[in-house]
């Protein structure tokens, strides 16, 4: 691999990272907080590429002496470029959710704060699960909540609402799963994004993958929604 080729690969790699971080593409793979570092890394890669081009055009005499020492393994860097620019795989969905066990809902530090105003009120899946499991739904009495997530199929064939929780990147993504009773969306295919409106259900289940308690929601209505910009919880 000549230095010029390496410069092109670095330019593509840096460019792919910059493109992903200036669109919402990067949110499919990593947390929002990484964005400034991605931009910095992308710029540094582009700078390294430009400087390599600059030096090799300015003094090409030193160019070929060590060409055969150049790392061949660098060819592999085309793969992430390919992944980011051409394939751009989707955010983790129901397949990943069915493979991994549900995250444990957070146990309360003190009493749960009352839900904000509004009916139905938007609640995150992890928040709902911890209010339902540790507080027996007391903070949600007589309230309609709206949860947004994608549909995944439980081992018994029933639909569940899920969302992936990232701590760093999609490699550590774990699902939070909520069981659905009442008028649950039965017929929609897995991976469909839905917003379900419902009320607290005292029903509880277990995630067979890791034996963690799963909260349930009594569904009143639901509708299909587009995938949110930030697909992870």
């Amino acid at each position: 691999m000549s230095k010029l080729t390496q410069a092109v690969v670095m330019l593509l790699f840096g460019g792919a990272i910059l493109r992903a971080s200036f669109t919402d593409l990067y949110l499919r793979y990593v947390k929002e907080g990484l964005r400034p570092f991605l931009i910095g890394a992308g710029l540094l890669l582009v700078a390294a590429a430009v400087m390599t081009l600059w030096y090799s055009f300015r003094s090409p005499s030193t160019e070929t002496d060590h060409d055969h020492h150049e790392p061949r393994v660098g060819w592999l860097l085309i793969l992430p470029v390919l992944g980011l620019l051409l394939v751009a795989p989707p955010a983790l969905g129901s397949y990943a959710a069915s493979q991994a066990g549900s995250v444990t809902a957070q146990s309360p530090e003190s009493d749960y704060p009352p839900l904000p105003e509004g009916s139905p009120v938007d609640v995150g899946l992890v928040d709902y699960a911890s209010r339902a499991l540790y507080d027996a739904g007391k903070s949600m009495e007589n309230r309609d909540v709206r949860l947004t997530g994608f549909i995944t199929t439980a081992p018994d064939g029933k639909p569940m609402l899920a969302r992936m929780v990232l701590s760093c990147c999609a490699a550590d993504g774990r699902p939070i799963k909520i069981g659905l009773t009442g008028r649950a969306p039965i017929d929609v295919p897995a991976d469909t994004w839905v917003a379900v409106v419902g009320a607290y259900s005292p029903e509880k289940g277990k995630d067979p993958v890791n034996n963690v308690d799963v909260a349930y929601l009594e569904v009143k209505t639901w509708e299909e929604v587009p995938e949110p910009k930030q697909p992870y919880a």
Partner: protein, 336 residues
Amino acid sequence: MTRLQDIDWTASPSPPVDKKERKIGSLEVLAALLVLLVLFREQLAGLVDGARLQTWTTVFVSVLVQAAPFLVFGVALSAIIAVFVPRSFWAKALPKHPALAVPAAGLAGVALPGCECGSVPIAGSLIRRGVTPAAALAFLLAAPAINPIVLTATVIAFPGRPEMAVARGVASLFVAVLMGWLWLRLGKQEWIKLPHRPELDDLSKGRAFWAACRHDVMHAGGFLVIGAAAAATINVIVPESWLQSLADNAVLSVIALAVLAVLLSICSEADAFVAASLSQFSMTSRLVFLVVGPMVDLKLISMQAGVFGRRFAFRFAPATFVAALGIGTGVGAILL
């Protein structure tokens, strides 16, 4: 496609002799490859259709996107060490006696906030600049595990159990120093085969710096790709339900999580959250997961083999694994 071959991409003011004979260089191959990829883009996207392959691709890309900043900044820092920091600095900064330099270098790892992908090229640079390998290796092992960002993440991931972060820091530093001393006694210089790098002696510091950056990005980055592919494969093909059956046995659970840490190759800034979610396992086995992970995993083995040579990596990684497993279990038994 025929057009591409007509253009002489290698044209330069004074084309070297061997280039003239070899018409198809890597740049032509790359150009042709890129054209083919763009032309067959639809088919390519179609290939990545099954849920399993799609998940694989997502995990693969995300490991690389997550690691890219750490790789690039680590590479830049290592290029600064290799080019701008004079050799005499390290002789002054570290204790003369190698046995004392090891713990000093291990503790210095506190100052490098990052994950393990960045520390491999940095350790390579340190050795190149005359730092005793034992000390550089202690730094390599300690830096990703005991820096403030990683320890803070561990405190957050285990709310109400700050002793987990303490145990992690103590155990990781122990392992790093022990491995450094072990290298002093048993290590052989010829196991470490640092590639010949003539460009680092370039008279122009600027040119040497960018050449070092380019080389390390291509080199360490390429091995990172191999590691990311391996980690994505494990992530997809090992169902978590297998782990469930191992969690109840005290001995098996420790070994299972140590092996899992190697296979999953999660960034050290994230692994605490994964450990926290493996709630069916004992605290000690989760501590072992956190100690082993930043020191030995698939992408690290791949990168170490690339930067230090295979003979080194295939001795160093298993020894580190055993040390981390043993010390992690011991510290867990005392502190947790």
